[in-house]
């Protein structure tokens, strides 16, 4: 028998028997993560189970981040219920509104023990693989059962091996790298599978969160970075482990990437999307809302004001990231450039609070999803990419390659900005031209463009 993949190794370890892909295991959990928008369903599930007390209050982490601070009385009431539940259960690991996105805090505060299984009530719980844990997102009833029993059932997944070689050039980030992987694998190419990242263990923790969290967008059950500093040496897949697929990304030649709405796997090089006009830029989320991301944006902006036709919303992914960005002056620079800085948390990423999209607005976001209606209006369009590209968009009003701006002299920089601003066609909404450009792009690129819903009218 071939040696284990990392997923097989971890699930064998926790279940106490040698298992391979396809086997079912009952896995004991090191942590269960619960967030604000599911608490009612979780409580109802536990009540129905007849097990209203969590199995181990010290292993439960609770967050108020999805709609925080509360935007409506109904949400405020749900948050109040959540706080009472947390107190009644004796749960000490509780992060209230403003502390940040659950996944960021789970990893940066060290709740993700490598080699263990953690389930979370949010689909991006794959993020815990940033530290070497097997993190999987689940629905409210699964979470209710996990809270009651401290265990869950899992089918041991096949694994996909993703290897990174080289170093990205200036202006290219691991967000571009993972978008390149999504472009390769597709939104369902890793369905039920675990994505194991090789050649990424030495990256900063934030980059590892970007990688692991985005595996959700390929349908993965988990995404784990091999050889993280948090993980013991023995936590490595066997050299002869069997993978369902192997993908290698050459970082040396990687270009900045952009995902074209409304699919995360409709990815092209940014160089092919230059000039698409945008109304609003969102820099935030568990994917790219850290101080490193904010620094990249500030670096690119060079103290200039953003284009007056664009709004820039910055939402730090946690209080720690927020404070670090305050301490080193990054937030001051972004504010001086015209950014609005929101409360640490999920922000407008899922369209509930803090700057949702109107009508046919066009957004450029550093987050992880660009589905129709994701950030508000179902007619709005969402492009995804890195903080560098986000900063260029805010500065010029249009999509552009960030690299020339990073290399330019001050005079060249201002000339570039002026040129792009002047080129932006402002007859009508930004979206009118953006929509044309997306259709052109989709027509010329070998992208997936399967109709989402058959019989649905295409909006013109």
């Amino acid at each position: 028998m071939a040696g284990p993949t990392l997923a097989e190794l971890i699930l064998s370890r926790v279940s106490g028997r040698e298992v391979r892909a396809g086997d079912l295991v009952i896995a004991p959990l090191s942590r269960v993560m619960v967030h604000d928008s599911v608490i009612d369903a979780v409580m109802a599930g536990m009540k129905e189970l007849g097990r209203e007390k969590v199995w181990d209050a010290s292993r439960v982490c609770v967050f108020v981040d999805h709609a925080a601070p509360a935007p409506t009385p109904v949400v405020a009431d749900s948050h109040r219920v959540l706080r009472e539940w947390v107190r009644g259960q004796g749960i000490a690991t509780f992060y209230d509104a403003g502390e940040g996105v659950c996944h960021q805090i789970m990893v940066e505060e060290g709740y993700c023990e490598p080699g263990t299984v953690i389930v979370g009530s949010d689909s991006h719980s794959n993020s815990y693989g940033a530290a070497g844990a097997f993190g999987a997102g689940m629905g409210a009833t699964d979470i209710a059962v996990a809270l009651a029993l401290g265990r869950t059932w899992l089918r041991v997944p096949e694994s996909i091996k993703v290897t990174f070689r080289g170093t990205p050039r200036r202006g290219v980030t691991m967000k571009d790298a993972i978008m390149r992987v999504v472009r390769e694998i597709g939104t369902d190419g890793a369905r039920y599978a675990c994505v194991e990242f090789h050649g990424a263990g030495d990256l900063p923790q934030g980059d590892r969160i970007t990688l692991a969290g985005m595996t959700t967008e390929m349908g993965a059950k988990a995404g784990i970075v091999v050889g993280t500093p948090e993980a013991p040496d023995r936590l490595r897949p066997a050299p002869d482990a069997v993978y369902m697929r192997e993908v290698t990304v050459d970082l040396n030649t990687l270009e900045p990437q952009i995902a074209i709405p409304p699919r995360v796997d409709q990815v092209s090089d940014v160089s092919q999307a230059i000039g698409i006009p945008v109304d609003i830029v969102f820099l935030g989320s568990c994917t790219n809302g850290r101080v490193a991301d904010m620094r990249q944006a500030a670096e690119l902006l060079r103290g200039r004001r953003i284009d007056p036709r664009v709004r820039l919303e910055v939402v730090p992914s946690s209080r720690r990231q927020f404070e670090d960005a305050m301490a080193d002056g990054t937030l001051g620079k972004l504010s001086a450039a015209g950014a609005v800085v929101g409360t640490s948390g999920c922000g407008p990423c899922l369209g509930r609070t803090g700057g949702v999209l109107a009508g046919e607005e066009v957004c450029f976001s550093t987050a992880n999803r660009n589905y129709m209606g994701r950030m508000g209006s179902p007619k709005a369009s969402i492009y995804l990419g890195s903080p560098y590209v986000a900063a260029v968009v805010a500065l010029t009003g249009v999509v552009d390659d960030p690299r020339p701006y990073l290399e330019a002299s001050d005079a060249e920089f201002d000339a570039l900005v002026a040129k792009r601003r002047a080129e932006r066609d402002d007859r009508g909404a930004a979206s009118a031209r953006s929509g044309d450009r997306s259709r052109e792009l989709l027509a010329t690129l070998p992208l997936r463009s399967a109709p989402w819903i058959t019989g649905m009218e295409q909006e013109d």
Binding site: D142, G219, R263, R352
Partner: protein, 164 residues
């Protein structure tokens, strides 16, 4: 007989119930009335108990929100047959007791509005253009579905079905 509601590939849970209509945004008694409100506005008003959804690849991808399948259950959807399912959605449906079955050719045999019969025991979806063969569910999932969901199963048995 059940009416078919046909969807394509990669139908995401934001389409089933957008985040802005989550139960905790609009209340437990209303969220299901927004099912497919952007994509198929007539759905929530005209779907009848027992109706079946038929889809392509990766049905139910995206957010883990259980209120998406919970809305379908509340509207009485009798089952979902797709080429393949996204993993969290699949688990949520099993947990809630909604039959979810894979069939390679269902989406090509079925037209929106067709009369269908889902015969799980016989392993087929009967359509006006012939039968689509259903891929058998793992015994583990079958046991949970037969009990009406994971909560009902655990109440009855105290633990998960055996895994070996």
């Amino acid at each position: 007989m059940a009416r078919a509601w046909v969807f394509g590939d990669d139908l995401d849970t934001d389409q089933m119930v957008p985040g802005r209509y989550a139960p905790f945004m609009v209340g437990q008694d209303k969220f299901h009335t927004y099912a497919f409100c952007d994509a198929r506005p007539e759905f929530a008003k005209t779907v009848r108990p027992g109706d079946l959804l038929v889809g392509g690849e990766n049905f139910g991808c995206g957010s883990s929100r259980e209120y998406a399948p919970a809305a379908l259950k509340k509207l009485g959807v009798g089952g979902i047959v797709a080429k393949s399912f996204a993993r969290i959605f699949f688990r949520n449906c099993v947990n809630l007791g909604i039959p979810v079955l894979e069939a390679a050719d269902a989406v090509s045999l079925v037209r929106d509005g067709d009369d269908l019969t889902l015969d799980i025991a016989a392993g087929v979806l009967r359509t006006p253009r012939g039968d689509a063969r259903l891929r058998p569910l793992a015994p583990f999932a079958q046991e949970i579905l037969a009990a009406g969901g994971v909560v009902a199963y655990l109440r009855e048995h105290g633990d998960f079905p055996a895994v070996r």
